[in-house]
Protein backbone atom coordinates (compact mmCIF):
# COMPACT_ATOMS: atom_id res chain seq x y z
CA UNK A 1 0.00 0.00 0.00
CA UNK A 2 1.36 3.37 -1.05
CA UNK A 3 1.80 5.45 2.10
CA UNK A 4 2.81 8.70 0.37
CA UNK A 5 0.00 11.26 0.32
CA UNK A 6 0.02 13.96 -2.30
CA UNK A 7 -2.70 16.59 -2.59
CA UNK A 8 -3.15 17.93 -6.13
CA UNK A 9 0.33 16.63 -6.83
CA UNK A 10 2.08 18.31 -3.93
CA UNK A 11 3.35 17.01 -0.62
CA UNK A 12 1.23 18.84 1.97
CA UNK A 13 1.79 19.09 5.71
CA UNK A 14 -1.40 17.65 7.31
CA UNK A 15 -3.42 20.10 9.42
CA UNK A 16 -4.11 19.37 13.09
CA UNK A 17 -7.77 20.35 13.02
CA UNK A 18 -10.38 18.77 15.31
CA UNK A 19 -11.60 16.02 12.97
CA UNK A 20 -14.71 13.84 13.30
CA UNK A 21 -16.17 11.33 10.82
CA UNK A 22 -19.89 12.11 10.93
CA UNK A 23 -21.11 9.83 8.16
CA UNK A 24 -19.12 7.27 6.18
CA UNK A 25 -16.84 9.37 3.98
CA UNK A 26 -18.06 12.68 5.46
CA UNK A 27 -15.89 14.57 7.92
CA UNK A 28 -16.38 17.58 10.14
CA UNK A 29 -13.18 19.57 10.65
CA UNK A 30 -12.95 22.46 13.10
CA UNK A 31 -9.81 24.40 12.27
CA UNK A 32 -9.27 27.52 14.34
CA UNK A 33 -12.59 29.37 14.34
CA UNK A 34 -13.95 27.75 11.19
CA UNK A 35 -16.11 24.67 10.74
CA UNK A 36 -15.64 22.73 7.49
CA UNK A 37 -17.36 19.73 5.98
CA UNK A 38 -15.34 17.36 3.82
CA UNK A 39 -16.66 14.66 1.49
CA UNK A 40 -14.42 11.84 0.36
CA UNK A 41 -15.24 9.93 -2.82
CA UNK A 42 -12.76 7.57 -4.44
CA UNK A 43 -9.54 9.59 -4.60
CA UNK A 44 -11.08 13.04 -4.23
CA UNK A 45 -11.73 15.13 -1.16
CA UNK A 46 -14.14 18.07 -1.45
CA UNK A 47 -13.94 20.83 1.17
CA UNK A 48 -15.68 24.19 1.04
CA UNK A 49 -16.46 23.84 -2.66
CA UNK A 50 -12.87 22.92 -3.58
CA UNK A 51 -11.97 19.43 -4.79
CA UNK A 52 -8.55 18.03 -3.96
CA UNK A 53 -7.05 15.00 -5.66
CA UNK A 54 -5.35 12.43 -3.46
CA UNK A 55 -2.64 10.39 -5.29
CA UNK A 56 -2.36 9.90 -9.03
CA UNK A 57 -2.83 6.18 -9.71
CA UNK A 58 -6.25 6.54 -11.21
CA UNK A 59 -5.76 8.09 -14.67
CA UNK A 60 -9.44 8.63 -15.29
CA UNK A 61 -10.02 10.54 -12.06
CA UNK A 62 -6.93 12.51 -12.93
CA UNK A 63 -8.11 13.31 -16.43
CA UNK A 64 -11.53 14.31 -15.13
CA UNK A 65 -9.96 16.94 -12.97
CA UNK A 66 -9.48 18.88 -16.17
CA UNK A 67 -5.79 19.55 -15.58
CA UNK A 68 -4.40 16.71 -17.72
CA UNK A 69 -3.04 18.98 -20.43
CA UNK A 70 -0.55 20.94 -18.40
CA UNK A 71 0.57 17.81 -16.57
CA UNK A 72 2.60 16.12 -19.31
CA UNK A 73 4.24 16.90 -22.64
CA UNK A 74 1.88 14.40 -24.19
CA UNK A 75 -1.89 14.69 -23.77
CA UNK A 76 -4.34 11.93 -24.53
CA UNK A 77 -7.99 12.24 -25.39
CA UNK A 78 -9.89 9.44 -23.64
CA UNK A 79 -13.53 8.44 -23.55
CA UNK A 80 -15.04 9.30 -20.16
CA UNK A 81 -17.86 6.79 -20.81
CA UNK A 82 -19.01 4.17 -23.31
CA UNK A 83 -20.13 5.67 -26.61
CA UNK A 84 -19.93 5.66 -30.38
CA UNK A 85 -17.46 7.63 -32.54
CA UNK A 86 -19.72 9.52 -34.95
CA UNK A 87 -17.08 11.59 -36.72
CA UNK A 88 -13.32 12.19 -36.64
CA UNK A 89 -12.56 15.82 -37.41
CA UNK A 90 -8.75 15.66 -37.77
CA UNK A 91 -6.07 13.46 -39.30
CA UNK A 92 -2.73 12.24 -37.93
CA UNK A 93 -0.05 14.96 -38.06
CA UNK A 94 -2.63 17.76 -38.17
CA UNK A 95 -1.66 20.74 -36.02
CA UNK A 96 -4.46 21.46 -33.52
CA UNK A 97 -5.16 24.30 -31.07
CA UNK A 98 -6.55 23.95 -27.56
CA UNK A 99 -10.34 23.61 -27.69
CA UNK A 100 -10.41 22.47 -31.32
CA UNK A 101 -12.88 19.65 -31.98
CA UNK A 102 -11.22 16.27 -32.52
CA UNK A 103 -14.05 13.73 -32.25
CA UNK A 104 -17.85 13.77 -32.30
CA UNK A 105 -19.03 11.08 -29.87
CA UNK A 106 -22.59 9.97 -29.24
CA UNK A 107 -23.64 8.70 -25.81
CA UNK A 108 -26.85 8.89 -23.80
CA UNK A 109 -28.69 10.15 -26.88
CA UNK A 110 -26.46 13.21 -27.07
CA UNK A 111 -23.70 14.11 -29.50
CA UNK A 112 -20.68 15.73 -27.92
CA UNK A 113 -17.46 17.10 -29.32
CA UNK A 114 -14.25 15.99 -27.67
CA UNK A 115 -11.82 18.89 -27.90
CA UNK A 116 -8.03 19.12 -27.91
CA UNK A 117 -6.82 19.75 -24.33
CA UNK A 118 -4.01 21.97 -25.65
CA UNK A 119 -2.14 23.14 -28.75
CA UNK A 120 -0.05 20.49 -30.46
CA UNK A 121 0.11 17.91 -33.20
CA UNK A 122 -2.04 14.80 -33.60
CA UNK A 123 0.46 12.01 -32.90
CA UNK A 124 -1.99 9.14 -33.14
CA UNK A 125 -5.67 8.35 -33.66
CA UNK A 126 -6.63 5.03 -32.10
CA UNK A 127 -10.20 4.65 -33.42
CA UNK A 128 -12.22 4.88 -36.61
CA UNK A 129 -15.68 6.34 -37.25
CA UNK A 130 -18.61 4.21 -36.00
CA UNK A 131 -16.34 2.44 -33.51
CA UNK A 132 -17.93 1.78 -30.15
CA UNK A 133 -15.55 2.68 -27.33
CA UNK A 134 -15.46 1.78 -23.65
CA UNK A 135 -14.92 4.21 -20.77
CA UNK A 136 -11.26 5.18 -20.40
CA UNK A 137 -10.32 4.14 -23.92
CA UNK A 138 -7.56 6.34 -25.39
CA UNK A 139 -8.89 7.82 -28.63
CA UNK A 140 -5.99 10.01 -29.69
CA UNK A 141 -2.65 11.42 -28.56
CA UNK A 142 -1.72 15.08 -28.89
CA UNK A 143 1.93 16.05 -28.53
Amino acid sequence: MNRIIRIDGHMVEPADSDLAETEPGVYSAIAGLSSWEAQVTANEITIGGYTFLVEFEDRRQWKRSGRAADAKGKASITAAMPGKIVRILVAVDDAVVAGQGIFVVEAMKMQNELKAPRDGRVAAIEVSENDSVVAGAVLAIIE
Partner: protein, 501 residues
Protein backbone atom coordinates in the same frame (compact mmCIF):
# COMPACT_ATOMS: atom_id res chain seq x y z
CA UNK B 1 -26.70 44.44 9.00
CA UNK B 2 -24.57 42.19 11.21
CA UNK B 3 -21.43 40.60 9.75
CA UNK B 4 -21.38 37.57 12.06
CA UNK B 5 -24.07 36.11 14.32
CA UNK B 6 -23.67 33.51 17.08
CA UNK B 7 -26.54 31.07 17.61
CA UNK B 8 -26.92 30.17 21.29
CA UNK B 9 -28.82 26.98 20.57
CA UNK B 10 -28.59 23.52 18.99
CA UNK B 11 -30.48 21.08 16.75
CA UNK B 12 -32.96 21.96 14.03
CA UNK B 13 -33.54 25.56 15.15
CA UNK B 14 -29.81 26.33 15.07
CA UNK B 15 -29.67 24.95 11.52
CA UNK B 16 -32.82 26.82 10.48
CA UNK B 17 -31.21 30.09 11.66
CA UNK B 18 -27.92 29.22 9.92
CA UNK B 19 -29.83 28.83 6.66
CA UNK B 20 -31.33 32.31 6.78
CA UNK B 21 -28.00 33.82 7.87
CA UNK B 22 -26.33 32.21 4.85
CA UNK B 23 -29.03 33.56 2.55
CA UNK B 24 -28.38 37.03 3.98
CA UNK B 25 -24.61 36.74 3.57
CA UNK B 26 -24.03 36.76 7.35
CA UNK B 27 -21.44 34.40 8.84
CA UNK B 28 -22.85 31.94 11.38
CA UNK B 29 -21.21 30.76 14.61
CA UNK B 30 -22.53 27.51 16.12
CA UNK B 31 -21.92 26.57 19.75
CA UNK B 32 -21.73 22.98 20.92
CA UNK B 33 -21.36 20.81 24.00
CA UNK B 34 -19.31 17.60 24.23
CA UNK B 35 -22.33 15.55 23.15
CA UNK B 36 -22.88 17.74 20.08
CA UNK B 37 -19.40 17.80 18.50
CA UNK B 38 -20.76 15.94 15.46
CA UNK B 39 -24.22 17.56 15.50
CA UNK B 40 -25.67 18.80 12.22
CA UNK B 41 -25.75 22.45 13.29
CA UNK B 42 -21.99 22.28 13.97
CA UNK B 43 -21.32 20.67 10.59
CA UNK B 44 -23.32 23.28 8.68
CA UNK B 45 -22.23 26.48 10.43
CA UNK B 46 -19.41 28.66 9.10
CA UNK B 47 -17.74 28.66 12.51
CA UNK B 48 -18.11 26.57 15.66
CA UNK B 49 -17.22 27.06 19.32
CA UNK B 50 -17.08 24.40 22.02
CA UNK B 51 -18.77 25.74 25.14
CA UNK B 52 -18.62 22.89 27.65
CA UNK B 53 -19.79 19.53 28.89
CA UNK B 54 -22.99 17.81 27.79
CA UNK B 55 -25.36 18.91 30.58
CA UNK B 56 -27.17 22.10 29.47
CA UNK B 57 -26.22 23.81 32.70
CA UNK B 58 -22.57 23.56 31.68
CA UNK B 59 -23.05 24.54 28.03
CA UNK B 60 -26.25 25.85 26.40
CA UNK B 61 -27.40 27.45 29.66
CA UNK B 62 -23.98 28.84 30.56
CA UNK B 63 -24.15 32.57 29.81
CA UNK B 64 -20.45 33.29 30.42
CA UNK B 65 -19.23 30.53 28.12
CA UNK B 66 -21.58 31.68 25.36
CA UNK B 67 -20.47 35.30 25.65
CA UNK B 68 -16.82 34.18 25.66
CA UNK B 69 -17.44 32.29 22.43
CA UNK B 70 -19.10 35.33 20.86
CA UNK B 71 -16.07 37.45 21.80
CA UNK B 72 -13.58 34.86 20.56
CA UNK B 73 -15.34 34.63 17.19
CA UNK B 74 -15.99 38.32 16.83
CA UNK B 75 -19.77 37.95 16.48
CA UNK B 76 -21.73 41.19 16.80
CA UNK B 77 -25.15 39.69 17.55
CA UNK B 78 -26.58 36.61 19.26
CA UNK B 79 -29.70 34.67 18.29
CA UNK B 80 -31.12 32.62 21.19
CA UNK B 81 -33.46 30.35 19.19
CA UNK B 82 -36.18 28.85 21.44
CA UNK B 83 -35.83 27.12 24.81
CA UNK B 84 -32.51 27.29 26.70
CA UNK B 85 -31.73 31.00 27.34
CA UNK B 86 -34.19 32.42 24.83
CA UNK B 87 -36.59 33.76 27.49
CA UNK B 88 -33.97 34.56 30.10
CA UNK B 89 -33.98 38.33 30.73
CA UNK B 90 -30.59 38.10 32.45
CA UNK B 91 -29.09 36.62 29.28
CA UNK B 92 -30.62 39.29 27.05
CA UNK B 93 -29.25 41.96 29.41
CA UNK B 94 -25.84 40.28 29.62
CA UNK B 95 -25.61 40.26 25.79
CA UNK B 96 -26.37 43.98 25.60
CA UNK B 97 -23.98 44.75 28.49
CA UNK B 98 -21.23 42.82 26.70
CA UNK B 99 -21.90 44.83 23.54
CA UNK B 100 -23.73 42.15 21.54
CA UNK B 101 -27.11 42.74 19.95
CA UNK B 102 -29.64 40.30 21.39
CA UNK B 103 -31.88 39.16 18.53
CA UNK B 104 -35.19 39.40 20.32
CA UNK B 105 -37.15 41.79 22.51
CA UNK B 106 -35.67 44.00 25.23
CA UNK B 107 -34.61 42.37 28.51
CA UNK B 108 -37.34 44.50 30.11
CA UNK B 109 -40.10 43.00 27.92
CA UNK B 110 -38.79 39.49 28.56
CA UNK B 111 -38.81 40.10 32.32
CA UNK B 112 -42.34 41.52 32.18
CA UNK B 113 -43.84 38.74 30.06
CA UNK B 114 -41.53 36.00 31.31
CA UNK B 115 -43.26 35.95 34.66
CA UNK B 116 -46.72 34.56 33.90
CA UNK B 117 -48.30 36.51 36.74
CA UNK B 118 -46.64 39.77 35.63
CA UNK B 119 -47.72 39.00 32.09
CA UNK B 120 -51.34 38.58 33.18
CA UNK B 121 -51.23 42.01 34.86
CA UNK B 122 -49.67 43.63 31.80
CA UNK B 123 -52.10 41.99 29.40
CA UNK B 124 -55.07 42.91 31.61
CA UNK B 125 -53.83 46.50 31.79
CA UNK B 126 -53.47 46.45 28.00
CA UNK B 127 -57.10 45.41 27.75
CA UNK B 128 -56.70 41.73 26.80
CA UNK B 129 -59.21 39.31 28.38
CA UNK B 130 -57.63 36.96 30.93
CA UNK B 131 -58.54 33.71 32.67
CA UNK B 132 -59.64 34.05 36.33
CA UNK B 133 -56.71 33.16 38.58
CA UNK B 134 -54.25 34.38 41.19
CA UNK B 135 -52.18 37.24 39.87
CA UNK B 136 -49.21 36.24 41.99
CA UNK B 137 -47.45 33.07 43.07
CA UNK B 138 -49.04 31.01 45.82
CA UNK B 139 -47.24 30.96 49.15
CA UNK B 140 -48.89 27.71 50.25
CA UNK B 141 -51.35 25.01 49.26
CA UNK B 142 -53.86 26.84 51.47
CA UNK B 143 -53.96 29.79 49.02
CA UNK B 144 -54.74 27.32 46.24
CA UNK B 145 -57.56 25.80 48.26
CA UNK B 146 -58.99 29.24 48.96
CA UNK B 147 -59.01 30.17 45.27
CA UNK B 148 -60.51 26.84 44.21
CA UNK B 149 -63.28 27.07 46.81
CA UNK B 150 -64.35 30.36 45.27
CA UNK B 151 -63.70 29.76 41.54
CA UNK B 152 -64.69 26.08 41.53
CA UNK B 153 -63.08 23.10 39.77
CA UNK B 154 -61.37 22.14 37.56
CA UNK B 155 -58.33 24.35 38.22
CA UNK B 156 -54.83 24.48 36.83
CA UNK B 157 -51.58 24.85 38.80
CA UNK B 158 -48.73 26.46 36.83
CA UNK B 159 -45.10 27.34 37.45
CA UNK B 160 -44.49 31.10 37.52
CA UNK B 161 -41.15 30.57 35.76
CA UNK B 162 -42.74 27.87 33.62
CA UNK B 163 -42.84 26.72 30.05
CA UNK B 164 -43.17 23.46 28.16
CA UNK B 165 -45.75 22.06 30.52
CA UNK B 166 -43.29 21.49 33.33
CA UNK B 167 -44.65 22.24 36.80
CA UNK B 168 -48.25 22.10 35.55
CA UNK B 169 -51.07 20.09 37.10
CA UNK B 170 -54.80 19.85 36.43
CA UNK B 171 -56.83 19.32 39.58
CA UNK B 172 -60.48 18.25 39.59
CA UNK B 173 -61.16 17.60 43.28
CA UNK B 174 -60.38 19.47 46.47
CA UNK B 175 -58.79 16.37 48.05
CA UNK B 176 -56.11 16.22 45.28
CA UNK B 177 -55.19 19.89 45.46
CA UNK B 178 -52.56 19.85 48.20
CA UNK B 179 -50.64 16.90 46.75
CA UNK B 180 -50.75 18.41 43.26
CA UNK B 181 -49.46 21.72 44.65
CA UNK B 182 -46.41 19.98 46.15
CA UNK B 183 -45.75 17.96 42.98
CA UNK B 184 -46.03 20.96 40.66
CA UNK B 185 -43.86 23.09 42.92
CA UNK B 186 -41.08 20.48 43.22
CA UNK B 187 -41.14 19.78 39.47
CA UNK B 188 -40.93 23.53 38.82
CA UNK B 189 -37.99 23.77 41.21
CA UNK B 190 -36.17 20.98 39.34
CA UNK B 191 -36.93 22.43 35.93
CA UNK B 192 -36.47 26.19 36.47
CA UNK B 193 -34.73 26.54 39.83
CA UNK B 194 -37.87 28.33 41.00
CA UNK B 195 -40.69 26.41 42.69
CA UNK B 196 -43.28 29.20 42.77
CA UNK B 197 -46.63 28.19 41.23
CA UNK B 198 -49.92 30.00 40.68
CA UNK B 199 -53.47 28.81 40.08
CA UNK B 200 -56.05 29.44 37.34
CA UNK B 201 -59.60 28.42 36.58
CA UNK B 202 -59.51 25.77 33.86
CA UNK B 203 -61.54 26.53 30.72
CA UNK B 204 -63.12 23.18 29.75
CA UNK B 205 -62.66 21.91 26.18
CA UNK B 206 -60.62 25.00 25.46
CA UNK B 207 -58.61 25.38 22.28
CA UNK B 208 -55.02 26.61 22.38
CA UNK B 209 -54.85 29.37 19.78
CA UNK B 210 -51.91 31.77 19.57
CA UNK B 211 -51.20 34.92 17.60
CA UNK B 212 -47.81 35.65 16.03
CA UNK B 213 -46.85 39.28 16.52
CA UNK B 214 -43.99 41.20 15.02
CA UNK B 215 -42.81 44.65 16.01
CA UNK B 216 -39.92 46.93 15.11
CA UNK B 217 -38.04 49.29 17.43
CA UNK B 218 -39.96 52.26 16.05
CA UNK B 219 -43.31 51.31 17.58
CA UNK B 220 -44.81 49.48 14.59
CA UNK B 221 -46.62 46.26 15.52
CA UNK B 222 -48.45 43.78 13.27
CA UNK B 223 -49.90 40.31 13.77
CA UNK B 224 -49.42 37.43 11.30
CA UNK B 225 -52.61 35.53 12.03
CA UNK B 226 -53.09 32.61 14.36
CA UNK B 227 -51.78 29.11 14.95
CA UNK B 228 -53.95 26.42 16.50
CA UNK B 229 -51.94 24.19 18.85
CA UNK B 230 -54.74 22.28 20.57
CA UNK B 231 -53.23 18.87 19.86
CA UNK B 232 -51.09 18.44 22.97
CA UNK B 233 -49.77 15.64 25.16
CA UNK B 234 -48.82 16.45 28.73
CA UNK B 235 -49.12 20.16 27.82
CA UNK B 236 -46.55 19.70 25.02
CA UNK B 237 -47.65 20.74 21.55
CA UNK B 238 -47.66 17.82 19.10
CA UNK B 239 -49.30 19.25 15.97
CA UNK B 240 -49.72 22.92 15.06
CA UNK B 241 -51.54 24.48 12.15
CA UNK B 242 -52.33 27.79 10.55
CA UNK B 243 -54.93 28.99 9.97
CA UNK B 244 -57.19 27.54 12.69
CA UNK B 245 -60.28 26.01 11.05
CA UNK B 246 -62.23 27.16 14.12
CA UNK B 247 -61.09 30.78 13.89
CA UNK B 248 -61.83 30.77 10.17
CA UNK B 249 -65.39 29.71 10.97
CA UNK B 250 -65.99 32.49 13.54
CA UNK B 251 -66.63 35.85 11.85
CA UNK B 252 -64.20 38.55 12.97
CA UNK B 253 -62.48 36.34 15.54
CA UNK B 254 -59.05 36.53 13.84
CA UNK B 255 -59.15 40.30 13.80
CA UNK B 256 -60.30 40.52 17.43
CA UNK B 257 -57.59 38.13 18.60
CA UNK B 258 -54.98 39.95 16.54
CA UNK B 259 -55.92 43.28 18.08
CA UNK B 260 -55.90 41.82 21.60
CA UNK B 261 -52.44 40.34 20.95
CA UNK B 262 -51.09 43.64 19.67
CA UNK B 263 -52.57 45.46 22.70
CA UNK B 264 -50.84 43.04 25.06
CA UNK B 265 -47.54 43.35 23.16
CA UNK B 266 -47.76 47.14 23.09
CA UNK B 267 -48.42 47.23 26.84
CA UNK B 268 -45.13 45.34 27.31
CA UNK B 269 -43.23 47.72 25.00
CA UNK B 270 -42.60 44.69 22.85
CA UNK B 271 -40.52 44.49 19.68
CA UNK B 272 -39.12 41.66 17.47
CA UNK B 273 -41.05 38.36 17.07
CA UNK B 274 -43.33 37.16 19.85
CA UNK B 275 -46.37 35.00 20.38
CA UNK B 276 -49.45 35.72 22.46
CA UNK B 277 -51.16 32.51 23.56
CA UNK B 278 -54.91 32.39 24.19
CA UNK B 279 -57.40 29.83 25.39
CA UNK B 280 -60.60 29.91 23.32
CA UNK B 281 -63.88 28.36 24.39
CA UNK B 282 -66.43 26.82 22.03
CA UNK B 283 -68.30 30.14 21.70
CA UNK B 284 -65.26 31.99 20.40
CA UNK B 285 -64.49 33.76 23.68
CA UNK B 286 -60.74 33.88 24.23
CA UNK B 287 -58.53 34.55 27.24
CA UNK B 288 -54.91 35.66 27.43
CA UNK B 289 -52.76 32.74 28.60
CA UNK B 290 -49.16 33.93 28.30
CA UNK B 291 -46.74 35.55 25.91
CA UNK B 292 -43.71 33.75 24.49
CA UNK B 293 -41.01 36.35 24.02
CA UNK B 294 -39.10 34.43 21.33
CA UNK B 295 -39.36 32.57 18.05
CA UNK B 296 -41.71 29.58 18.46
CA UNK B 297 -40.99 25.98 17.52
CA UNK B 298 -44.08 26.16 15.29
CA UNK B 299 -43.16 29.40 13.47
CA UNK B 300 -42.88 27.61 10.08
CA UNK B 301 -46.64 27.19 9.67
CA UNK B 302 -46.97 30.97 9.87
CA UNK B 303 -44.12 31.37 7.38
CA UNK B 304 -45.84 29.08 4.91
CA UNK B 305 -49.22 30.82 4.96
CA UNK B 306 -47.84 34.39 5.05
CA UNK B 307 -44.84 33.81 2.73
CA UNK B 308 -42.55 35.59 5.22
CA UNK B 309 -39.17 34.52 6.64
CA UNK B 310 -39.52 35.26 10.35
CA UNK B 311 -35.82 34.77 11.13
CA UNK B 312 -34.88 37.27 8.40
CA UNK B 313 -37.37 39.74 9.87
CA UNK B 314 -35.99 39.15 13.38
CA UNK B 315 -32.52 40.05 12.12
CA UNK B 316 -33.71 43.14 10.27
CA UNK B 317 -35.64 44.32 13.33
CA UNK B 318 -32.68 43.70 15.64
CA UNK B 319 -30.55 45.74 13.22
CA UNK B 320 -32.95 48.65 13.75
CA UNK B 321 -34.80 48.45 10.44
CA UNK B 322 -38.48 49.28 10.13
CA UNK B 323 -41.11 46.64 9.36
CA UNK B 324 -41.22 46.42 5.53
CA UNK B 325 -45.04 46.09 5.55
CA UNK B 326 -48.20 47.13 7.39
CA UNK B 327 -51.08 45.00 8.68
CA UNK B 328 -52.97 45.41 5.40
CA UNK B 329 -50.09 43.83 3.46
CA UNK B 330 -50.35 40.57 5.43
CA UNK B 331 -52.33 37.90 3.54
CA UNK B 332 -52.84 34.27 4.53
CA UNK B 333 -52.79 31.72 1.70
CA UNK B 334 -53.75 28.05 1.98
CA UNK B 335 -53.16 25.85 5.02
CA UNK B 336 -50.02 24.65 6.80
CA UNK B 337 -49.57 21.84 9.35
CA UNK B 338 -46.53 20.93 11.44
CA UNK B 339 -45.71 17.61 13.13
CA UNK B 340 -43.03 17.54 15.83
CA UNK B 341 -41.02 14.38 15.27
CA UNK B 342 -39.68 13.07 18.59
CA UNK B 343 -37.38 10.22 19.58
CA UNK B 344 -39.97 8.52 21.75
CA UNK B 345 -41.70 5.16 21.64
CA UNK B 346 -45.51 5.27 21.39
CA UNK B 347 -45.66 1.53 22.15
CA UNK B 348 -43.78 2.19 25.39
CA UNK B 349 -45.77 5.05 26.91
CA UNK B 350 -43.89 7.60 24.72
CA UNK B 351 -40.72 6.91 26.63
CA UNK B 352 -37.70 8.78 25.21
CA UNK B 353 -35.73 6.62 22.77
CA UNK B 354 -32.32 8.15 22.14
CA UNK B 355 -29.56 6.30 20.29
CA UNK B 356 -27.93 5.92 16.92
CA UNK B 357 -29.85 6.63 13.74
CA UNK B 358 -29.00 3.62 11.62
CA UNK B 359 -30.93 4.69 8.53
CA UNK B 360 -32.84 7.75 7.45
CA UNK B 361 -35.03 8.52 4.46
CA UNK B 362 -36.61 11.92 4.51
CA UNK B 363 -39.75 13.14 2.72
CA UNK B 364 -39.60 15.74 -0.04
CA UNK B 365 -41.51 16.89 -3.11
CA UNK B 366 -44.41 19.34 -3.56
CA UNK B 367 -45.46 21.31 -0.48
CA UNK B 368 -43.12 19.55 1.94
CA UNK B 369 -40.71 21.41 4.24
CA UNK B 370 -38.42 19.53 6.59
CA UNK B 371 -36.52 21.34 9.33
CA UNK B 372 -34.34 18.56 10.70
CA UNK B 373 -31.39 18.28 13.06
CA UNK B 374 -30.40 14.66 12.40
CA UNK B 375 -28.56 12.52 9.88
CA UNK B 376 -27.81 8.80 9.39
CA UNK B 377 -25.18 7.84 11.93
CA UNK B 378 -26.06 10.63 14.37
CA UNK B 379 -26.38 9.59 18.00
CA UNK B 380 -29.40 11.32 19.53
CA UNK B 381 -28.04 12.40 22.93
CA UNK B 382 -29.84 11.75 26.21
CA UNK B 383 -29.03 15.19 27.49
CA UNK B 384 -31.57 17.30 25.64
CA UNK B 385 -35.16 17.48 24.51
CA UNK B 386 -35.62 14.50 22.17
CA UNK B 387 -37.10 16.44 19.23
CA UNK B 388 -35.49 15.22 15.99
CA UNK B 389 -37.15 17.34 13.33
CA UNK B 390 -40.22 19.26 12.30
CA UNK B 391 -42.16 18.11 9.27
CA UNK B 392 -44.26 20.91 7.81
CA UNK B 393 -46.55 20.81 4.80
CA UNK B 394 -48.49 23.43 2.89
CA UNK B 395 -51.46 22.93 0.57
CA UNK B 396 -54.31 24.97 -0.84
CA UNK B 397 -56.82 23.63 1.69
CA UNK B 398 -56.63 22.03 5.15
CA UNK B 399 -57.96 18.70 3.81
CA UNK B 400 -55.26 18.64 1.12
CA UNK B 401 -52.62 19.56 3.69
CA UNK B 402 -53.70 16.60 5.85
CA UNK B 403 -53.45 14.23 2.86
CA UNK B 404 -50.06 15.71 1.96
CA UNK B 405 -48.80 15.25 5.52
CA UNK B 406 -49.89 11.60 5.47
CA UNK B 407 -48.07 11.16 2.17
CA UNK B 408 -44.93 12.78 3.56
CA UNK B 409 -45.10 10.70 6.77
CA UNK B 410 -45.19 7.61 4.55
CA UNK B 411 -41.87 8.69 3.00
CA UNK B 412 -40.27 9.27 6.41
CA UNK B 413 -38.19 6.33 7.67
CA UNK B 414 -36.03 6.57 10.79
CA UNK B 415 -34.16 3.33 11.52
CA UNK B 416 -32.41 2.43 14.77
CA UNK B 417 -34.46 4.46 17.24
CA UNK B 418 -38.18 4.71 18.00
CA UNK B 419 -40.06 7.81 16.89
CA UNK B 420 -43.59 9.15 17.35
CA UNK B 421 -44.27 8.96 13.59
CA UNK B 422 -47.07 6.39 14.13
CA UNK B 423 -48.82 8.84 16.46
CA UNK B 424 -49.29 11.32 13.60
CA UNK B 425 -50.85 8.73 11.31
CA UNK B 426 -53.30 7.97 14.11
CA UNK B 427 -54.22 11.64 14.62
CA UNK B 428 -54.39 12.67 10.96
CA UNK B 429 -56.73 9.78 10.21
CA UNK B 430 -58.99 10.57 13.18
CA UNK B 431 -62.39 11.93 12.05
CA UNK B 432 -62.51 14.45 14.91
CA UNK B 433 -59.14 15.92 13.90
CA UNK B 434 -60.24 16.07 10.27
CA UNK B 435 -63.39 17.92 11.32
CA UNK B 436 -61.18 20.35 13.24
CA UNK B 437 -63.07 19.27 16.35
CA UNK B 438 -60.25 19.98 18.82
CA UNK B 439 -59.50 21.02 22.38
CA UNK B 440 -56.40 20.78 24.56
CA UNK B 441 -57.64 17.46 26.01
CA UNK B 442 -58.27 16.00 22.55
CA UNK B 443 -55.12 13.87 22.29
CA UNK B 444 -55.26 12.46 25.83
CA UNK B 445 -58.81 11.34 25.07
CA UNK B 446 -57.74 9.80 21.77
CA UNK B 447 -54.98 7.89 23.55
CA UNK B 448 -57.27 6.65 26.34
CA UNK B 449 -58.52 3.80 24.18
CA UNK B 450 -55.70 1.22 24.07
CA UNK B 451 -53.87 1.23 20.72
CA UNK B 452 -51.91 -1.66 19.23
CA UNK B 453 -48.89 0.22 17.86
CA UNK B 454 -47.54 -2.96 16.31
CA UNK B 455 -50.53 -4.64 14.71
CA UNK B 456 -49.66 -8.03 13.20
CA UNK B 457 -49.04 -7.60 9.45
CA UNK B 458 -50.84 -9.48 6.68
CA UNK B 459 -49.43 -12.92 5.73
CA UNK B 460 -48.20 -11.84 2.29
CA UNK B 461 -45.99 -9.20 3.91
CA UNK B 462 -44.77 -11.66 6.57
CA UNK B 463 -43.77 -13.95 3.70
CA UNK B 464 -41.75 -11.16 2.09
CA UNK B 465 -40.09 -10.50 5.45
CA UNK B 466 -39.14 -14.18 5.63
CA UNK B 467 -37.77 -14.02 2.08
CA UNK B 468 -35.61 -10.99 2.96
CA UNK B 469 -34.35 -12.61 6.16
CA UNK B 470 -33.39 -15.72 4.17
CA UNK B 471 -31.64 -13.55 1.55
CA UNK B 472 -29.66 -11.70 4.21
CA UNK B 473 -28.57 -14.97 5.85
CA UNK B 474 -27.37 -16.28 2.50
CA UNK B 475 -25.59 -12.96 1.81
CA UNK B 476 -23.95 -13.17 5.22
CA UNK B 477 -22.66 -16.68 4.55
CA UNK B 478 -21.26 -15.64 1.18
CA UNK B 479 -19.74 -12.57 2.77
CA UNK B 480 -17.83 -14.71 5.27
CA UNK B 481 -16.59 -16.97 2.50
CA UNK B 482 -15.49 -14.05 0.31
CA UNK B 483 -15.29 -10.79 2.31
CA UNK B 484 -15.07 -8.49 -0.73
CA UNK B 485 -18.42 -9.66 -2.09
CA UNK B 486 -20.33 -8.20 0.84
CA UNK B 487 -18.62 -4.84 0.59
CA UNK B 488 -20.31 -4.25 -2.76
CA UNK B 489 -23.43 -3.11 -0.96
CA UNK B 490 -21.51 -0.80 1.35
CA UNK B 491 -20.34 2.28 -0.56
CA UNK B 492 -18.72 3.56 2.61
CA UNK B 493 -16.24 0.73 2.56
CA UNK B 494 -15.65 0.73 -1.18
CA UNK B 495 -15.04 4.48 -1.04
CA UNK B 496 -12.31 3.93 1.50
CA UNK B 497 -10.65 1.35 -0.72
CA UNK B 498 -10.65 3.52 -3.83
CA UNK B 499 -8.82 6.13 -1.83
CA UNK B 500 -5.98 3.72 -1.29
CA UNK B 501 -5.81 2.23 -4.77
Amino acid sequence: MFAKVLIANRGEIALRIIRTLREMGIRSVAVYSDADRAALHVRKADEAAHIGASPSSESYLNIDRILDAARRHGATAIHPGYGFLSENARFAQACEDAGFTFIGPSAKSIALMGSKTEARRVAKAGGAPIVPGTESGLTSAADAVAFAREAGFPVMLKAVAGGGGKGMRRVDRMEDLAAAFDAASSEALRAFGNGTVYIEKLIENARHIEIQVLGDQHGNLVHLGERECSVQRRHQKVIEESPSSFVSRMPGMRERMGEAAIRAARAAGYYNAGTVEFLADQFGNFYFLEMNTRLQVEHPVTELVTGLDLVRLQLEIAAGERLPFTQDDIALRGAAIECRIYAEDPANNFFPSPGRIERLSEPSGPGVRLDSGIYPGWNVPLDYDPMLAKLIVWAGTRDQAIERMLRALGEYQVGGIRTNLPLFRLILNDPAFRRGDLHTGYLEELLKTPIDWNPPGPPELAAIAAQIAAWKMKEQTTAQAAPDAAKGSSWATSGREDLLR
